[in-house]
Amino acid sequence: MAGSAKTEKFDNKTIQWINDRLPVFSMMQNEYGKFPTPRNFNYFWNFGAIAMAMLGIMIVTGIFLAMNYVPTGSMAFESIERMSRDVNYGWLLRYTHMNGASFFFIAVYIHIFRGLFYGSYKKPRELIWIFGVVIMLLMMATAFMGYALPWSQMSGWGVTVITSLFSAVPLVGDGLVTWLWGGFSVDSPTLNRFYALHFLLPFLICAVVFVHVWALHVTGSNNPTGVEPKSEKDTIPFSPYYTTKDSFGTVVFLVLFMAMVFFAPLLLTEPDHFKQFDPMQTPSHIVPEWYFLPFYAILRAFTLDISIPFTHIVLLTAKLQGVLAMFGSILLLLFLPWLDTSPVRSARYRPVYKWCLMLLIAAMAALTYAGAKPPEGAAVWFGRVGTFYYFLHFLVIVPWLGKNEKTLPLPKSIHEEVED
């Protein structure tokens, strides 16, 4: 980047002056103007830009909400009510932020599915994928902590249940939970630290997004064929082609998002979210936000302690199995670039893998259903089968298929495929 800076010429003298000293304009032009991008992206490729827009919306609305929020147990619920009732457009900021979390996850989950389908995690893009998984983990932590802030029944008990997961850690578990809480129950100190972290983490996400995109600009984007661009015919400049396409996609996404904010802002919100946290009374029905449901179902899928046969020595409690499986289900994604051994990237040319991926989607749907329901009857089996397939898919099917699948012939180049 630094080398090419000297050669750039801009009509505007001020821009030229700045660029000679700090080549930001050269960088913009190289990375977002001329940046050679495969010409055959479909609309799945919009979701990176959309996710970025959502991150921006969440940070901006969050900062203005923070100006009216009081992070103490006695005031939090009230301050949010005041915000929704008395602060100018406070209701809009709140509903945008609240539903924004859901739409951010929608965009990111589609973005991840895109990566899985077209093999975007494969060599040489492993680091891009790993940074992406880190972003998802940070998003989950941020969303969870944000959910605590209204200090409602759902907030308080959600925090209680999820932080209590750490009590499954052998030996130090209970101490760890007390440390997380800053007391002997979920109370004001817990809320206050969650608030501090909820404010901090998004900026950490921004930093990881930056390296995620930086790494992407080193390797260049994958594309629906999974075949690397070979000549200039295969690529087009990012601007104006993808700037307009991304903008169009983002506006369409915003239509859906805003329709929810203005006409169904509470569709995904449980009634218990409008009762102040009462540490003496657990609500009768507590479920996490929809984007956590599959992982919540994995947590609950384990019900049998593993013990040494014919003794009462428990090696692994059901609870610890659940906790390990839940965290494991996300962490194993970090190893996906090496678990998938197939030389072909795009599922378009992998007929069997394509169906396995659809099964994974079905498993996620089953897990979502199981996570939303009390663990009884069919929901239990949905949870178990979903969990079983989830791990089977990544740990067995993907490595095995890579070596044994008969793939379809790949197009010679991107432009050949486009012109067909």
Binding site: R39, E78, E81, R82, S84, R85, W91, L92, Y95, W157, T160, V161, S164, L165, S167, A168, G173, D174, V177, I236, P240, Y241, T244, K245, S247, F248, V251, V252, L254, V255, M258, A259, V261, F262, F263, P265, L266, P271, D272, F274, K275, T282, P283, S284, H285, I286, R300, K319, P374, P375, E376
Partner: protein, 250 residues
Amino acid sequence: MKKTLLFSALLLTLSSQAFAAEEIALPKQHWPHKSLFGAYDKAAVQRGFQVYKEVRSSCHAMKFLSYRNLGDLGYTPDEVKAVAAQYTVTDGPNDDGEMFERTALPSDPFKSPFKNDKAARAANNGALPPDMSLLVKAREGAEDYIFGVLTGFEDAPAGLEMQPGMNYNKYFPGHQIAMAKPLADGQVSYSDGTGASLEQEARDVTQFLAWASEPHMEQRKQTGLKVILFLLAFAGIMYKAKKKIWAQLK
């Protein structure tokens, strides 16, 4: 260990309790403000406020509302002031360090019937009458539930053993409610001449509570309509612009 137990108990109770109580089918009512562009029926909401003020405010607080909010219901500033002036609130401390009583002003929050939750429980047989400012949003079934409970008081079916001090209600989960039947035919006499049947009172007070829990609903829907129409047009223009640009490729 304690936490382990707590946690397991939580997971168990949380998940089982929801389905332990039998599902009660609430009759669906028609609420004008629930439709896509529906607004509050101001006359009904005003009547509902009258029901709240004359009947229900003796037990239920509405701490997130202030008298000034009544202005949004169509009351004039003088009327709002007159409503507020019916109450005295504690203010202070004054220069002598003493708390003192004064007439409430429009800027004051609705006066709570009890000093605190414990006082409320003590006066109500151990049960806490919930704050009603968010009640519609905080109950499964929302408006239909409130209306159902208000109109659902009946004599307990034969054979059902009632706990002392409890009342039978066909729409309350578990059917035993500490609240005595609050509304009856002719409980209030409406200033606009509407007949005060039990059902009318329940319908009106429910709409008042719906307004109280979401006072910005009308502004939200109106703004929303403009935003969506604008964004749809914007999306159309962006689509055309994108197509024009991509047409240059071939």
